[in-house]
């Protein structure tokens, strides 16, 4: 997943957390980068028509940006679910975050052929918990069957 897609995903999640435009501060926290880096990338995404930015309010995804953010979040969900259900990784959130920049969506699509992902994915992703609310593993506090 490239950096732009990681930003789009973060904006999508921040919008859900804040129930409105994604603030620079929230994005900087989610992405673990400086506010200046966030502002620079928001400007680039705005130029590409993926984001609308309103001063003092924050960033909002356009329809095209929303579609790409959805795809990016779906790729991320596949990585988390794969790490949990196939490789049985307990610290799957930290590891998914460390791996997402190296896993392309075509690779994720192939991994998706062996995992059982809910049909409503990625809408069941909980931004506060940072994982799918229907994901069951020791790492989410609930045991798999």
């Amino acid at each position: 997943m490239n950096t732009a897609d990681q930003y789009l995903k973060a904006i999508y999640l921040a919008q859900r957390i804040e129930e409105g435009p994604a603030s620079t501060g929230t994005l900087a926290d989610l992405l673990e980068v400086s506010p200046a880096s966030v502002n620079e990338m928001i400007g680039k995404l705005e130029d590409q028509g993926l984001v609308e930015h309103e001063k003092y309010k924050g960033a909002t995804l356009t329809d095209e940006g929303l579609e790409r953010a959805h795809d990016a979040l779906q790729t991320y969900c596949i990585i988390e679910r794969f790490l949990t259900n196939v490789l049985e990784v307990e610290e799957f959130r930290d590891e998914a975050r460390a791996l997402e920049s190296v896993i392309d969506d075509t690779v994720a699509d192939r991994l998706d052929t062996i995992i059982d992902r809910p049909g409503e994915c990625p809408d069941c992703f909980d931004p506060e918990l940072d994982h799918c609310e229907r994901l069951e593993s020791p790492g989410t506090g609930t045991q798999c069957d």
Binding site: T3, L30, V33, L87, V89, R97, S101, V107, R110, I114
Partner: protein, 164 residues
């Protein structure tokens, strides 16, 4: 979140190599499933060239898996056994409708594996980190696997063009 395509720890490298093994196992298992699950009339129609391609693909994936497992062993980790991945493929498998569907799936396998190794090589090259496995051996192995996936994709494309 980790921005920027870079592999910087043994754990990250191990996970990526384990993912590589699973991708190879998926290729091997799907190739076997394709041959077993096509309807009899379609199975008869799968000519020798396509049958040989699927057998070669399964053998090549098993070989790639062995080479990745050698690297993973040097990192003191284990891989998911083939039987487990085969069972997961089995649970989700939807057979292609015909021989063209088999070939498209095989092309997707080869292209996905190529993309995976290409991204992994780039991410290792972008990092100065020392790994528990020799860096040159690691990169040489991955470059060989990438080249073989590229050749595999070209082979499938040639067959598809001949059949068109």
């Amino acid at each position: 979140m980790s921005l920027g395509q870079r592999v910087s720890t043994d754990r990250q490298l191990t996970r990526l190599l384990q993912i590589g093994v699973v991708l190879e196992e998926v290729v091997e298992s799907r190739a076997a499933h394709h041959l077993e699950t096509l309807p009899p009339e379609e199975r008869d129609a799968v000519d020798e060239e396509v049958r040989a391609l699927l057998v070669d693909a399964a053998e090549e994936s098993a070989d790639h898996r062995d080479r990745l497992e050698d690297l993973i062993a040097d990192l003191d980790a284990e891989t998911v056994p083939y039987e487990e991945i085969n069972a997961l493929v089995d649970a989700q498998y939807g057979p292609p409708e015909d021989t063209d569907g088999v070939l498209y799936d095989q092309l997707a396998n080869e292209e996905t594996a190529y993309k995976f190794y290409d991204d992994l090589i780039e991410a290792i090259e972008a990092s100065d980190s020392e790994f528990a496995v020799d860096r040159e051996r690691l990169l040489e192995t991955l470059r060989t696997l990438r080249e073989e996936e590229k050749e595999g994709a070209e082979e499938v494309t040639e067959i598809m063009e001949r059949r068109a």
